[in-house]
Symmetry: C2
Subunit: 233 residues, 2 copies
Amino acid sequence: MLEKIKVIGFDADDTLWVNEPFYRQSEMEFAEMLSDYGDEEYINNEFLRFQLANLDRYGYGIKSFILSMIETALFITNNKANISIINDIIDIGKRMIDKPVELLDGVKATLEVLSDKGYTLIVATKGDLLDQERKLNKSGIEKFFHHIEIMSDKTEFSYRKLLKHLDINAEEFMMVGNSMKSDIIPVIDIGGNAIHIPFHTTWIHEQVDSSKDLKFYREMEDISEVVKLFSSY
Amino acid sequence: MLEKIKVIGFDADDTLWVNEPFYRQSEMEFAEMLSDYGDEEYINNEFLRFQLANLDRYGYGIKSFILSMIETALFITNNKANISIINDIIDIGKRMIDKPVELLDGVKATLEVLSDKGYTLIVATKGDLLDQERKLNKSGIEKFFHHIEIMSDKTEFSYRKLLKHLDINAEEFMMVGNSMKSDIIPVIDIGGNAIHIPFHTTWIHEQVDSSKDLKFYREMEDISEVVKLFSSY
């Protein structure tokens, strides 16, 4: 099957570079700020509730995260907090945006090899375009990619749109990513190829029952193994 | 020159559908909310200052607009306002997101004709992906477009990336839009074609000195004139 592959799509956050731990860190700071109003579990749960309620309107990314954090603070404090807490939340967001990029091990070498082999490499991510372009720019790996594909969500429907846009068939596409829900299952379900590389931290909204029977996808511990897979092509 | 054109890019906001008047309306509501702290001109100026200061971090779109509005409110009230004003600002944003789409006159018929002639039509916009997908979806014109191209900014650099992504030369590309600064000048400057269709309202940050001498672009009053231009091809 692999000989048909023309385009390899890479998820960005927690596949190419560290991301989720920064979100977790920001959530801990947020819970600390509101510690007079409830314990960390309660605050995290309310925050998640607002994030999910706002997902259709706001989508993914830091700006959405911050807007939901502001709404959660207003709710939890019943509009009684000092308004300066809003400034503190906005600062959390700006610090997240300004974070340096930490590439994951083996990423650069893997992209170099696959790029040399003539595959078209793209970033396929559902983050915010500006966040992701900024990270790609800081990362030094931009040159390996044909372009960034920002997807408002990673569903079968949106992968079909992506394939149409790339003018290729599903069997010509391979997706590499850390989320079973977003990077693997929908791609396999439309007839594409996928490699799952788990990351140690996964947002609760991305977690799925991994016992689902899925043929045709591969699990790897490290992105460098992707190169071995393609070594005979 | 026109016989070389393969791809026609359409700006979205205020080219395909009404947008800027909704932003102006929200600014008026915002100035009204803060009328105890200054007149409309002062509040608008401070708001613009925050929007421009945040542009590199936040980019364009409703979420950025709302985050800058919140920061402006904190600044103007010197953190003294009732925190409920933040809720009111968040509501402005949600109402903007939920607005129905008003297509501009002639858009649908124009897209129909150009699509039938075999041109690849794309939306090339620097808004927020989710905002723009939602509007395209509500608009009923999604079927005419090959895909939406979200650009973090509309500079010569980003148009060059777009052409690379489309695998075409500049002379094979025609851009149609309402902003001289974003849709016309950078496209002409890299050797592409462009049609300017002014809209009655333009954000101050998009305004340029229109006396700049630019050959090779056309000015039209109405999108329907685009069809006449291509009628002999």
